[in-house]
Amino acid sequence: MDADQLLTALAASIIAVPSLLVATLTVLTLCNRTPGERTTGRLCLFANLIGLAASLAMLLVMLAVDSRHVSLNIGNLVVIPHYHFSLKLLFDRLSMPFVILTFLLCGTIAAFSSRYLHREHGYNRFFVLFALFLLGMILAAASGTIETLFAGWELVGLSSALLVAFFQYRPAPPRNGFRVWVVYRISDAALLLAAVVMHHMTGEGDFDHLLGHGPWPDGEASASTLQALVVGVLLVLAAAGKSALVPFSGWLPRAMEGPTPSSAVFYGSLSVHLGAFLLLRVDAILQSSIWLAGLVVVLGLTTSIYAYLVGSVQTDIKSALSFASLAQVGLIVAEIGLGFRYLPLVHLLGHACLRTLQFLRAPTLLQDYHTLENAIGKRLPDAGGPLDRWAGGRLRVWAYRLALERGYLDVMLCRFVVDPFIAVFRMFDRLERRWLAFLAGGDQRPPSGDRSS
């Protein structure tokens, strides 16, 4: 077996392992043959271990043969004249660390969750969605075409939204899960629109065609400045939705309604970085337009400042951690906009690992505090928030209000986007009902309920 064959086999196994995990858990669930807790937990753990081993082996082979950019066509889903849909994977200096990180953190979370969720109602549901998330992350990380990226992107979105609504018997989780889904759909639409415009420009959806030839991070965009600006803005919008950048930051604390393991792996470490990963992937196009790069820097810094401010007034640990996470994501995005390549990548990897640890320790925070206080023999000092130290008078009151209301971002989105949309189409709905009543000679079916949902 030569190096190419070995790389192909390893790449195939990296995709096959999470796919098999999803297939196994889904089919067993659908057939009403839900495996026991121990079996489910072990299946997930072993799948992650095998995936991690395959990705590490792939990295070693790539280093051994001095290959920085391995593009593998796993197969064609559809081939007809003038059209093909290929499952193409790309393993380079960007995707390999992300794939390894995904398997590493998902494996850790799988081991943690099998104990944390012991005898929890919905244990199996959690792991089915978790497997779906893993598959989505791997597909998105190793995607070689924008269609493959979109497939992974969608799987991550669906599993995230359903896991936010995991405790579905309370009203808040489903409501928040739906909000997350709406933002993700906007993000998905922006990504697909970028693909549509890209197809229109280049005739292909491969990243290679968009970024020009050359391994990451040396690729150069073949698009003109204007084309890069149009596609780039859509990609930034997609990344903003996925990574909860301003103005979409409102969904991140809402996502904390889900169980702690899913919060840790989704919003602390992996999926919240997916937007930044996308921007890193298309960095060549970002740098081909100074306006676009500037937009990314401003967006990143705004998000970072916003998250720092809002995070400093949070009173529960998961919300505080989510905003702390967002502040770092904002910095990573700003670094990407400034033209750095390896700095944001290393920042991303380090931050993901640290944040996972913090989220997993969050349920035992009080115990940790007691241990610390017992160790030092007194209460932990209260340093006060940044607003106490840096602001005074009316500015402090204003800043507190802004932080407590989370920058009014959700309110603004609701008031200026969602409410007008609903009002306009409810009006159309009423008009249609009247029209139908007129056609039916007054025999109108009464509208159901008068409360909005």
Partner: protein, 475 residues
């Protein structure tokens, strides 16, 4: 020795429900009519399957044996590669809908009219002669009318729109027959007929009305085969000048986006289903308007996907309604615990409707967008936006129906074995078709080429040059 392929199997398939309808009319007890109807629809499905297999087994069929006399050549019903899978899928939907009819609903669900509707519907797909097709499409509007009468519901909106459809269709085709080249007047009339039957904005309200007034099973069976699109492909597309197709395309784009937006704010599951149907039927029409091979392949693939996925979603709603009555979407109903299998089924089929990755609709949507982008960027943008809104609507409905404070009931509400069979079959087709789409897409591609070839010949316009690349198709 007589070969299997010497029989016109589609006529046999039509005969089963037709005879079944006549016999079941004499059965007063619905519990007797139920197994009888299942048998008839199963036989019709088998007949369609054999007829479809015959299309591939015998390249140039010359089946002399059928139920209609050999002298009535114009009336013979045959399948080709285009309508074969559509007829099979439609007969499967009839079978599954009859199969999962709940016992509590058997008294109200008319097996006789359903079987008659199936016979007409399958004959529509097999008809080759335009006037026969027009006659059958006209006859196909009668069973739904009777359904509304039986339910004591207003028929005015339905009659008004179907009357318009029939009038426009007949008058339009009469003008075409009178003059071989399509005159502007005839084009406008046929254009109008397509818009009305497909429920295109602004003549779409009858679809919503029909979904609210008919039983869910009947509503599904009348809408899901997309007869309006079939009429457009068979009679309008081959002869319509570009401006007619552009008109259909613009109206369809508006409808796709408008209906998708409307589906996100609905407070009743029936209306949500109606708007989802309108949006997707319009997306199929958009593909026809572009009349490029890739876009048409995408449209035909989406048709297949919509029939299965939207039909499956409708079946799931029907099963839920049989347990809990009409579903209102203004509060969280909390039904997950009562029927988890239906929750999974709803989610998978709902996502399949909007073309979620790994389902049949995903590649169809990609093809449609890909075919559209080259010629018209706006079409690609609208298709994407409509897909996003439909996705929001489906998941919103899922959250509202299945999450929330647990619904308590004293009796078991989970799926019956018959429902489980239907769900597994549909999910297998939708997901299997999404993971291995090549055979289905190639079949749709060949049909698209044939349709465009006929159009090019008839209108004497140049065809897309694809002969050099025929070898690329992976069988």
């Amino acid at each position: 020795m007589m070969s299997l392929w010497e029989i016109r199997w589609l006529e046999v398939a039509v005969a089963f429900p037709l005879v079944g309808a006549i016999l079941s009319a004499f059965m007063r007890d619905s519990r007797r009519a139920f197994p009888f109807s299942i048998t008839c629809t199963a036989l019709a499905f088998t007949g369609c399957l054999i007829a479809w297999a015959g299309v591939y087994a015998v390249p140039a069929p010359s089946a002399p044996l059928g139920l209609l006399p050999s002298g009535m050549t114009k009336w013979h019903l045959t399948l080709d590669r285009f309508n074969g899978p559509i007829a099979v899928t439609t007969s499967l939907m009839y079978f599954l809908i009859v199969l999962v009819t709940a016992r509590t609903k058997m008294q109200r669900f008319s097996f006789t009219w359903t079987l008659l509707a199936e016979a007409i519907q399958l004959a529509v797909f097999g008809a080759t002669e335009p006037w026969v097709l027009i006659g059958l499409l006209t006859a196909g509007t009668i069973p739904p009318f009777v359904t509304l009468i039986r339910r004591n519901e207003s028929t005015r909106a339905y009659c008004l729109h179907m009357g318009m459809f029939i009038t426009l269709m007949i008058s339009g085709w009469s003008l075409v027959e009178a003059d071989a080249t399509l005159t502007s007047a005839a084009a406008v009339l046929l254009f109008g007929a397509v818009l009305v039957r497909c429920g295109t904005f602004p003549v779409h309200s009858w679809v919503v009305d029909w979904c609210e007034r008919a039983s869910m099973g009947n509503a599904l069976l009348f809408l899901v085969p997309l007869n309006g699109v079939y009429f457009a492909v068979r009679l309008v597309l081959p002869i319509a000048p570009d401006w007619v197709l552009s008109g259909i395309g613009i109206a369809s784009l508006i409808t796709a986006l408008y209906s998708a937006a409307m589906s996100t704010i609905q407070r009743e599951a029936r209306r949500l289903f109606a708007y989802l149907f309108l949006s997707h039927a319009s997306l199929v029409l958009v593909g026809l308007e572009l009349h490029t091979t890739i876009a048409l392949t995408g449209a035909l693939s989406m048709w297949f996907s919509v029939t299965l996925a939207l039909g499956g979603l409708g079946l799931t709603l029907r099963a839920l309604e049989a347990r809990f009555g009409r579903l209102h979407l203004h509060r969280y109903l909390g039904l997950y615990e009562q029927c988890p299998a239906l929750a999974i089924c709803f989610l998978i089929l709902g996502l399949a409707v909007v073309g979620f990755p790994g389902t049949l609709g995903f590649v169809a949507g990609e093809l449609l967008v890909d075919g559209a982008v080259g010629s018209n960027l706006a079409v690609g943008v609208v298709v994407v936006l409509a897909g996003a809104l439909n996705g929001i609507a489906v998941v919103r409905a899922w959250f509202l129906i299945f999450t929330g404070t647990r619904h308590e009931s004293s009796i078991g509400m989970n799926t019956t074995p018959r429902e489980r069979v239907a769900a597994v079959v549909l999910m297998f087709l939708v997901v299997g078709g999404g993971l291995f789409p090549q055979p289905g897409i190639v079949s749709r591609y060949e049909s698209a080429r044939k349709i465009l070839h006929e159009r090019a010949q008839r209108l004497a316009v140049p065809e897309e040059d694809e002969t050099a690349e025929q070898g690329e198709i992976l069988e």
